[in-house]
Symmetry: C2
Subunit: 213 residues, 2 copies
């Protein structure tokens, strides 16, 4: 999962670890808390060893500054390689069971703009199926085992059931939109910017902000 997320983000622009973590938190804030450094840095090294990413030397603007003795380690900027892009495409397209759990689905969904429509549909439907199963499980417990459970546990189940029903409805809408080839924005959610023929443009902002080194 982390691997997929990193590859996806680096495809938008080169970044160093710290920045990667922040962007990840912004993109996946709805799904999960910020990624831990204890996972991030080892994974970066693993990806580098596999050849999916490389170090990009930072700010080669003027070559006059002599590196001198104090070797100035500091931030390490990574960028994705051609093999990395292939790997990303492969990870996005193939869907295992983990693609449909909370985190897996969230990460895949966050990169739907780089996913072809058939795959999007497949993932949305797989997720719906999984949530429907969870929903049925909760209904069963509430219907058949209610007397065995205390009021708090029951309230928890009810809240969970409600969340499931809500998510299924959300997915239904997304699936309907997907089938009719429209943009993902649900009707009535504001920010509807009208027509768009081509879904799937690598999102805007491929250029990058500068920071004084």
């Amino acid at each position: 999962m982390l691997e997929l997320a990193i590859l996806g983000l680096l495809q938008e622009s080169p970044m160093h670890g710290y920045e990667l973590r922040k962007e990840l938190a912004a993109k996946l804030g709805a799904i999960r808390a910020a990624i831990s450094y204890g996972s991030l840095y080892p994974t970066l090294r693993r990806l580098q060893a596999a050849g999916w990413i490389t170090e990009a030397d930072e700010a080669p603007a003027t070559a006059e500054e002599v590196p001198a003795l104090t070797s100035r380690r500091g931030r390490v900027v990574y960028k994705i390689t051609a093999e990395g892009k292939e790997r990303f495409a492969q990870l996005i397209a193939q869907a295992g069971p983990e693609t449909y759990d909370d985190t897996g689905f969230g990460v895949h969904f966050a990169f739907f703009a780089r996913t072809d429509q058939a795959t999007r549909l497949r993932i949305l439907e797989g997720r719906r199926r999984k949530i429907e199963e969870r929903r049925e499980g909760l209904r069963d417990v509430l219907a058949r085992a209610a007397e065995r459970l205390d009021a708090y546990t029951l309230e928890l189940q009810r809240h969970g059931l409600d969340a499931c029903e809500r998510e299924v409805r959300w997915l239904e809408e997304l699936i309907a939109n997907e089938r009719s080839g429209r943009a993902p924005t649900a009707p009535g959610s504001g920010t509807a910017d009208g027509r768009r023929e081509d879904t799937n443009p690598p999102p805007p902002g491929e250029s990058r902000k500068e920071e004084r080194p």
Copy 2:
């Protein structure tokens, strides 16, 4: 977390691993998928080594059956010890940061019937605070960084924001109920069985069903 859940369940009745997993799935179905055996069995041994639980020999009904040679391993039933109950009480009362994340909160909530009111209130408010923070983060992203993100990512944030707002309202209701000393059942959720002076009875069904061994 697993430790707390196991201790809590064994307090209701002795069980073996398989059963524990099923009960856990029923009780926490709204929160998370079934626990893995890869965590369950090692944890059981850890708890046993610490003295919180012990093996309870199964079905001592008739002592006539000679164990004979084939030593009949089979299921291992565990029961909680006095020290285990103390440990449980301690874990329930003390709230670290992990008490307020999704899983942690779910487990604590599932055992609210064994938790005193002050602690319940503290946990509900801590959870609310945490969700409010997540909500503010999502609002920030939607307000300030919307143009940097593609339509799918935005839709994800919107859905997450909605879930946050909903959970905050749910928590508000629970907190209000808690303060007024009522049972947890929200008004309008059916199953309101009227007055109850004493919250905190060890829930019904302390006796146990029999299965032919």
